[in-house]
Point group: C2
Chain length 347, copies 2
């Protein structure tokens, strides 16, 4: 009899773990709380992925198709793990789906429950939801994916746009001291896309540090040199309404050492990533540890980033911290390997 492995979460990490395991003949149960596979990239309709602007569907779509068409993978949508308990070295889990409850015994478990986008409405200074033209990077990504680059307030092309980095990240005021890793690169990517779409539109990025780490740096050079994006070190302290249907960013340019008040047609907030309620639910239900930032805690951040504190339960993707899709896919592979080893040994 083949090994049975439970994968919780159908985003990039869970999908890759499930498809790799299925190639070894493992029977995979894939439980996804949403009514579709693909995780946040699918939910928020990401269009092009950094760093190489490949269509998100070429990556996510491919993983979804593999999972949906593989007879070794049973997908449960709109489903959750309602009950979980250890059974010797194995695990008995009940999947609650629209078709009813099903309890199975699994040899090992991979938790890949992902992240939540930070809700910028939680920080009043950004006036998100107060002004139509203040949106965030996930809103803009979805709009651009729909071919809709215009101002929400009036449907007109923007003449100037500001990106504000570190919204909900590196900010103890909202409870998130950590950096969300990808928002700098997403913003630089979107700034380039805006400039491509509207060559006459001025684009500013207000930053604390530009963290286009590793080869993502190539995009940063490109934004400055080929697309003339204005990159300004400074913090925006307040967003207010201006004349002629504009929104005003007030703040301080820390390099020029002076205050600024600039009216923009659109402001895009680079919202960060949070563990979300599903991380604490998983921690409680499966007996896993949470870290101080509200994400699931690996057994050892260097030696075993994809092992949980519980033997036989593995972690992959953004449930252990903010990361790029490529990192989530890789962790899905590593967790699959480890979950398979455990399953083979204890089968």
């Amino acid at each position: 009899m083949a090994e049975n492995i439970l994968v919780i979460g159908g985003g990039p990490a869970g999908l890759n773990a499930a498809t790799m395991l299925s190639e070894l003949g493992v029977k995979v149960t894939l439980a996804e709380r949403d009514s579709f596979l693909g995780g946040n990239p699918k939910k928020f309709k990401y269009k092009f992925l950094f760093p190489d602007m490949q269509p998100a569907d070429d990556v996510i779509g491919k993983l979804i198709k593999k999972a949906e068409t593989n007879s070794n993978i049973k997908v449960y949508l709109s489903s959750e793990v309602s009950d979980f308990k250890e059974n010797g070295k194995k695990f008995d889990a009940t999947i609650k789906s629209p078709d009813g409850n099903e309890t199975k015994t699994f040899d090992s478990v991979i938790v890949a429950t992902g992240f939540e986008h930070f809700d910028p409405a939680r920080d009043a200074k950004y006036s998100y939801q107060l002004f139509d033209d203040v949106i965030d990077i996930k809103d803009l990504e979805r709009m651009m994916g729909e071919g809709n680059f215009v101002r929400p307030s009036n449907g007109q092309p923007p003449k100037n746009v500001a990106f504000i980095l570190c919204v909900g990240s590196r900010d103890r005021h909202v409870g998130n001291q950590y950096c969300s890793r990808v928002c700098c690169t997403v913003s630089v990517k979107q700034a380039i896309e805006l400039r491509e779409h509207f060559p006459d539109c001025e684009v500013y990025i207000f930053y604390m540090d530009i963290r286009t780490y590793g080869f993502f740096e190539d995009l940063y050079w490109k934004a400055m040199e080929e697309y003339d994006v204005q990159i300004v070190k400074g913090r925006v302290a307040e967003i207010t309404s201006g004349e002629n249907n504009t929104v005003i960013c007030k703040g301080e340019d820390t390099l020029l050492r002076g205050p600024f008040e600039i009216p923009f047609d659109m402001v895009v907030l680079a919202s960060g990533m949070e563990g979300g309620p599903q991380s604490s639910e998983m921690a409680k239900k499966l007996g896993l540890e949470l870290d101080e930032h509200g994400f699931l805690k690996p057994q050892n951040v260097t030696l075993a980033p994809f092992k949980s504190n519980k033997e036989g339960v593995f972690l992959a993707g953004a449930c252990t911290g903010p990361k790029a899709i490529s990192d989530s896919i890789t962790e899905g592979g590593a967790a699959a390997m480890d979950a398979y080893i455990y399953a083979v040994k204890n089968h």
Copy 2:
């Protein structure tokens, strides 16, 4: 008969790939060019690892021990792949070791040939090798590992130390446009260690952007708040000799908008990472692609960061770009999974 898999490179990525594969009963051949396992962390005697300051030996030593004591892993030290050719879906490789040449047929191959530290002597403005008290982060790491925190010139404790970030990274002048990802966090970690060891020593970090991404940010807060490390946005343009056996950093503070000339007892250069000659050798010998930065190129940076352009040959660790040890270990796991799938299918 068990599958045979060749792992080239015995650093964190290769070690983890080898040990995980061995747990599935795979016969692993591990070829390492150096006379020891452990890669750069071992070669340069890394002492404590960011972000949680765990002893490097607890991580690397554990992986080495696992590899050395597992009967499924045959380790070849001071060895290289001298010949490589495809044999149907398999690969014939000759390992040239001090004991002679051995040719075997492998079901799949993992390339984990790592990186080289950038040699700061290549950039004359830093006066590395000209002044004893100008060292780099790998030198300091080794010195601290040996319990030796003092000035190389006179064996005295330093009264002030400067870290200069982005040496050999984000610098087209030396041919490396990319960011090396880890040098910011390594520098912040070492600054904390210096302040712990010499509470009266002033420590400065000169930076372009502080890229302590993700949870590494915690170390940055700690350096500023608990250790009073001075973090200065500015570029050092030149290092010269000063009075009283000091070295002078000349540059511009971009926040205060003024030039500075500060004498230091020690300067630590945050040297970056390069693909090194082994990447181009591997590319040539195995028929792999190199990227524009001189690292091995994955088939797809998002969907398949651990697959090479050649079916059956997989990539893991810093040979595909600068990364943290944790990332290399994870990639080792993912590449192991993929190499195992390929091996099982084509065995």
